[in-house]
Assembly symmetry: C2
Homo-oligomer: 389 residues x 2
């Protein structure tokens, strides 16, 4: 299968690209490398050193003999997207190429507008390119579990059958997301569902949970194949950030009481979910939604698990929640579709945590302690980050 | 009350501005006049001649002694929006200032991207300006009944209580809109609901039906106060367009079988709904939604009503539906909130239709017959309109 991975330079895009290549697919990647420039803007960087895209694909070729074609460019550039899709003519497009940090989208007006414009326009351009070039191309789009918010009813996989006043319909699951970033993904989902309806496109929306971990089978083959590890308050995901705090002997910080429950998954499951989704196409005209996570835990439970496993001393500290979110809520999200297609979950384990401690310790000299704490507050219209510029 | 009307030069923005002024409120308007340039792009124009904004406000002052301040500018220009809101410091912002044609948004990729960017970014800038300047400002935002689509269950006013697997929650009503324009309004609604949650803003989302008619008490005072009347295939709403077809002796064209049912309202009710909403503020933090229409009819019923009332001969012709929409569907949309606040509906009547025939006949020499038929097709990625440029 020919698969084009958009955002192929990112935390998950790169490991997905080489996982798909290792699984025998023809893979091309595209990226505008803007994620690397966010690092410069924020004065942050990946804990694990990452190679340039040229070095990455060269290393992959050297080690496996497999070629990955690279299309450098921006999805907001419509002619670029159109010519890339026409030139590579993939069977499947995997679309990771969005600004993916909630705090980044909440820095100020400019970052909110940037996030929504970048994500919504990029995605629209991909939809138009598919509709124009070949409506049979399967779009596999990364969404987020954060689109749903924390409703008091079970979270279904994208669609829900409602009985209301004696009548019934199957409708899109109502969303109530928690940041302008999460909102951009809700906008994308609505746009994609419409494109399936009017153009008969095939699409799968993967509402992914919080990813942790940094290594996959393929990235471990060579240091040049490593993917990024973010631990800062803006791009670091909760578990990865807490591992860094433990290694530094800092308290593991939970926002508020830490009662927020979220769906989690290991990076090794992310790449498998993508392979499984690509190999099981949505039907013509189908807007299919999978909830892509393997287990639910509260932020407090994540902290407890890390603290318990860390060989040294680790304490937990509650800090004022910079976000606006419920800290005590019902949470039961269905996530059976990917398991039904063959996903074998890799649950959070001591082995995984131990290996993460090791990776962080190896790179401890690269940690910028000042970057860890949250600097973006949801209730304010302009954060310290924006003001310090 | 101080009310700032965004999009105050448009079909409904202008009549609303002078209606609010006539009702004793202090009114300012803002517009970037882009609606007038769409006319140039499409080679179309208002059937009724319209004055410039300067002439409009001068006439209003001459006739009523009331002043309307004008802020010319673009909502996508964040500093402009911020300084306007800070300078005028309204109690209420009425936000009409969006690209509001479904066919226009479906012309091609460029028009889809323009519509979503323009509408979403403009609205985000308004939200940030309110959050920054004064969180007590009530945002009254124009949405559309088209956001809901045609579900098989009753359409509630923005929110719905769902019972699911033994649990209950009140959630945003699930939307399934029918164009990239309608989608932009869905995106806006989600963004506004979030702003109410994080910043405690007060907002009312008015999901308006299809408006017909051209005159209000205030616009009738002087020809310079007239608002636009669109009959073309891109910006003309269904009833107004059919009136023109009747006067020209052309068949009234329905798309497909004409079984599509839509909520309608008279322009005189639009301006009253806006007055009532402004004078009854949403609570702090409340995202309130009203369905703003007075009666539901199928497109076929609208055509039948006009044909029956037209003094000459009028025939009805089914043409291929350029849109993707159900033509035979359940439709029961609740619309009690505005009536509960005092709206007295002006239902479609022979008197109204007769007066519209008169206005069209007076301006018959200005009609461009070629502009009436649809030129934008939902299933195509690029319409005749785009290709002819």
């Amino acid at each position: 299968m020919r698969i084009l991975v958009l955002g192929g330079d990112g935390y998950l895009g790169w490991p997905t690209a080489i996982h798909l290549s290792a699984a025998g697919h023809d893979v091309a990647v595209s990226d505008n490398y803007v994620r690397r420039s966010y690092d410069e803007e924020l004065g942050a960087s990946s804990l694990v050193p990452i190679a340039s895209m040229d070095d990455r694909v060269a290393a992959w070729h050297e080690i496996t003999g497999k070629k990955i074609k690279v299309y450098p460019g921006d999805l907001c550039d419509a002619p670029f997207v159109h010519s890339m899709v026409a030139d590579y003519h993939p069977d499947t497009i995997v679309h990771f190429a969005e600004q993916r940090s909630a705090p980044y989208s909440m820095i100020d007006q400019k970052h909110a507008v940037y996030t929504q414009t970048n994500n919504v326009v990029g995605n629209l351009n991909v939809l138009y390119a598919i509709a124009d070039v070949d409506r049979d191309i399967h779009l596999v789009k990364l969404g987020t579990m954060g689109e749903y918010g924390t409703p008091n009813i079970d979270i279904e996989e994208g669609w829900i059958t409602i009985n209301h006043k004696g009548r019934t319909d199957r409708v899109l699951y109502p969303k109530r997301p928690g940041s302008f970033y999460h909102l951009s993904k809700v906008h994308d989902s609505h746009n994609i569902e419409f494109a399936c309806r009017i153009w008969g496109l095939r699409a799968t929306d993967l509402n992914q949970g919080v990813v942790y971990g940094v290594e996959t089978e393929a990235t471990k083959l060579d240091p040049r194949l490593a993917t990024r590890f973010d631990y800062d308050g803006v791009f670091g995901t909760v578990l990865n950030r807490m591992i860094v705090q433990a290694v530094l002997g800092l308290p593991l910080t939970v926002y508020g009481t830490g009662g927020q429950t979220r769906g989690l998954l290991n990076i090794v499951d992310t790449v498998e979910c993508l392979r499984i989704t690509c190999e099981n196409r949505a039907d013509k005209g189908e807007f299919r939604v999978f909830n892509q996570f393997t287990e639910s835990m509260s932020v407090r439970q994540i902290a407890d698990t890390i603290a318990k496993d860390y060989p040294g001393e680790a304490t937990i500290e509650e800090i004022e929640n910079p976000r606006v979110e419920l800290e005590d809520h019902y949470y039961n999200a269905i996530h059976t579709a990917l398991v039904d297609l063959g996903l074998v979950p890799t649950l959070l384990s001591e082995t995984l945590i131990d290996s993460l401690f090791g990776i962080v310790e190896q790179n401890q000299h690269r940690i910028d302690q000042a970057a860890i704490q949250p600097t973006v507050r949801w209730r304010e219209t302009s954060s310290e980050l924006a003001l310090s510029k």
